[in-house]
């Protein structure tokens, strides 16, 4: 089933219905990411939107894996941080989550 009209966002089909990640906002973030960001084609935010969805799903899933090891049914900030720490691919997030990280498993030498 498809609604008429052109979307200004990427439709992500979810269980609760289609979601939209606004392309304009994605474009804004892209432009803020660097000083010499070039022009962005109209279609690029669409690709970003889907990649973001996949990223969030993966991060959520990994965080959830940490949560269920504990006894709670609440996904906490620390669980997200742990997931980031455990995944090499998410190294770029280390700075972002370092505040929320649980006690380090092993001491790291300061850089």
């Amino acid at each position: 089933m498809r609604q008429a009209g052109t979307y200004s966002g990427m439709v992500i089909s979810g269980k609760t219905g289609p979601h939209l990640l606004p392309l304009a906002r994605i474009k804004k973030i892209m432009k803020k990411s660097g000083e010499e960001v070039k022009m962005i084609s109209g279609e690029s935010p669409i690709v970003f939107s889907k990649a973001c969805e996949l990223f969030i799903k993966e991060l959520t899933q990994r965080s959830w894996m940490v949560t269920i090891k504990g006894k709670t049914r609440t996904l906490s900030k620390e669980d997200v941080a742990s997931a980031v720490l455990a995944t090499d691919l998410f190294d770029f997030l280390l700075n972002l989550v370092s505040q929320s990280a649980p006690a380090p498993l092993h001491p790291k030498p300061p850089n």
Binding site: K28, I29, G34, S41
Partner: protein, 156 residues
Amino acid sequence: MEPMDIVGKSKEDASLPKATMTKIIKEMLPPDVRVARDAQDLLIECCVEFINLISSESNEVCNREDRRTIAPEHVLKALEVLGFGEYIEEVYAAYEQHKVETMQDSLKGGKWSNGAEMTEEEAAAEQQRMFAEARARMNGGAVAPKQPDPDPSVES
């Protein structure tokens, strides 16, 4: 003078909508699971950071190709370079799907007649053709699109 770079710097004016993000997050989890508010915020910040990362790399890819506009293929290349190659297939499929849907929209031109310019089968075939073409482009044009013609005498 730069403002102090605090971890978790807020980009209030360019962040992703919380409600939409929350829905995506919750759909990954069993229905009785709760997500702490600060965990949601952190996930959203991570997503923004992800966009920053891929943007920067896409910019680099674009530079190396001496192009002026960041195109989807640059983004896909960036994903691969940064280790998110697993996403590429799905991302690409979604992108192609979107193009087909947009094309159908513009073809229909607001008319509600039964006879659309393209039938479902034609649209699907067109999609396959675009997939193959784009894949060929991604592979440097070395591979020709697969012909559906069963005739063995046809060179592909």
